[in-house]
């Protein structure tokens, strides 16, 4: 009974969320940015941690390895839930991602090299079908890879949340039962082609200009890495 009610409520809230996300997620306070960021490639992003692999689900319901969507391209990964309507939460993150996506699409050098990954932190309600609707909405005119994933169960998701240090809890309603509000500290994770987390953006850092510079920095790092053997070869040839 409870599950049926939750499913119905989730549908209503999802509709609201999509409407909000698609139109205007609402006013959100952008972090203050009173500086000129350093040039892309003029700094090195720290290698914070490798991403641990896990089995998640695609909208089709097929199993997918997390490593398959966190390696091979520069990845910006975030956790969300489809019915989150907190204007300072997921909708704000969504708007930031759209801003970054538009900046990435304007940079010819980054074409095909960047992906976004959104992982639901509420697999109890965000079924493959639910994230499929969300995926259809965000991938429309997306112009780049944007994977939306969920987990088979909370049990499958917990190691992923733990690995990313993503603390999640559910608020209790007045009667003591779990409410529909899922608390989590909003973070985005920038992951390099090798699957290593290179930057983490909490809300103070959700500055699209800086985030794009970080993506470009990783791209330039890739280019330098790819160029290195060629330089060595050229030097050998010169001798």
């Amino acid at each position: 009974m409870l599950r049926a009610w939750l499913a119905a409520a989730a549908g209503v809230l999802w509709t609201c969320a999509v409407a909000l996300a698609a139109v205007d997620p609402g006013a959100a306070v952008a972090p203050r940015m009173e500086f000129t960021p350093p040039r892309p490639g003029s700094y090195t992003l720290q290698k914070i941690q490798p991403v641990a692999d896990a089995a998640l689900l695609e909208p089709s319901g097929r199993s997918v390895r997390l490593s398959a969507v966190t390696t091979g391209k520069i990845t910006l990964l975030t956790f969300f839930y489809t019915y989150c309507v907190d204007p300072l939460g997921c909708p704000f993150a969504y708007r930031t991602l759209i801003d970054i996506r538009n900046r990435v699409l304007r940079d010819a050098g980054l074409t095909g090299r960047v992906r976004f990954v959104s992982v639901s932190l509420d697999p109890s309600n965000d079924t493959p079908e639910a994230i499929g609707r969300y995926h259809d909405m965000i991938s429309r005119d997306s112009g780049m890879e944007w994977d939306v994933l969920t987990a088979r169960s909370v049990r499958d998701l917990l190691p992923v949340l733990d690995d990313f240090g993503q603390d999640v809890s559910v608020e209790r309603a007045a009667d003591g039962t779990p409410s529909r509000t899922v608390h989590h500290m909003l973070k985005m994770f920038l992951i390099d082609r090798a699957g290593v987390v290179r930057e983490i953006y909490s809300l103070a850092f959700l500055q699209p200009v800086v985030m794009l510079n970080d993506i470009r920095t990783l791209y330039l790092e890739e280019q330098a890495g790819a160029a290195r053997p060629a330089v060595r070869t050229a030097r050998r040839s010169a001798h």
Partner: protein, 441 residues
Amino acid sequence: MNHKASMSTRIRFCSLAVGLIAAASVARGDETCNSPYISNLIKGQEDFIHVWTLGEKGLGDGSDKLVTIDVNPASKGYGKVVGSVSVGGRGEAHHMGFTDDRKYLWAGDLDDSKIYVFDVGSNPSKPRLVRTITDLAAKSGFVGPHTFYALPGRVLIGNLSNSKDKGGVTGLVTYNNKGTFIAKYDIPTGLVAGVKGDGYGYDVAVNPAKNVLLTSSFTGWNNYMRSLGEVVKDPEAMKHFGATMVVWDLKSMKPTQVLSVPGAPLEIRWALAPGQNWAVTAAALTSKIWLIKQDAHGAWTAKDVATIGDPAKIPLPVDISISADAKGLWVNTFMDGLTHYFDLTDPEHPKETYQKKTGRQVNMVSQSWDGKRVYITSSLLSKWDKAGEDNEQVLRGYRWDGHELTAAFEVDFTKEKLGRPHHMKFTAKPAAQVALADPSR
């Protein structure tokens, strides 16, 4: 503020929205002197104070320990020790800091350079030691981990010394929240924008809106692990104190300016309200308050703006705590046992408006977000604390009504056989939330 109301505030504060508000615009006052990146800043009544306590030979088990005290006036255990986690050794316990999720408290030893990680999120009344990090010197060449400052997913640590000569030249390191070393950064010893650095370190503090990290400078292991009386009588030793602050580009972790701030500038506190572009520090040896401010051209300047007590008597200002509105500053002077209040309404001209003797020796001072509660501890360093009757070791809680500090409770750490209390951090009971995996969902 009653407890119920504060819990409600806390619940709201645990939400996403709070993360944004906290990160984007605040981080002032002592509760708020925490890194602006941590979540769940406590704006209401704190429930517990955790005190990183130096072990003392012959007292209790003699080991460093994390002592937890109930500080909620509505609690039956108010003012009492409710927990103590011994680390099983004595290594000069000093400072600590939360991870960005406020679930873990990292606490450092200045002598053996061990870093202890306590779980304070699962049950703040009963912290648990979950990890000990021992590779700081091996990975970085630095020793004396002092300040622990949360960055997203990692901890930035400001160190005091190095393993080679145990002098004051040192640097910064980052570890990820799992305790794995990530990177090291030398504090500059050469010229930076025309000013020579001394390489010394102490506190670290970030202003995210400015992309600026500030560091201050103290002294190396050779001095801080030696008797204070000997150090002050040794002219050569007295040459080895920090006299600079460094401005860093946080994103690139590169120094951009070295500021001349003589006399060992210690704690750094930013005023992070919108439109503010300044921080303050206190220089221990010269007993001065310094203002670090951005000028009209964007460059950072350091200016001596006030005197604390009589510098000739070396009162030794050892800790400061800025109010949430950045209009007031508590300053503890160790030698005379005074707690001072400075009106910071005009940060260019701080004025002392109140002082009270709060102990025979006083060190750390921490205030609640609302400024109504002030806590002090007594110990500076094991070799620098006073001797005999003056070596009282206490935590004292006070109420502050804007005019007078009124004693609320006291914990005698000697009587309780705990040791020497140093750094304090606040926690609150978890809000009424359900785990994601709770079967009731």
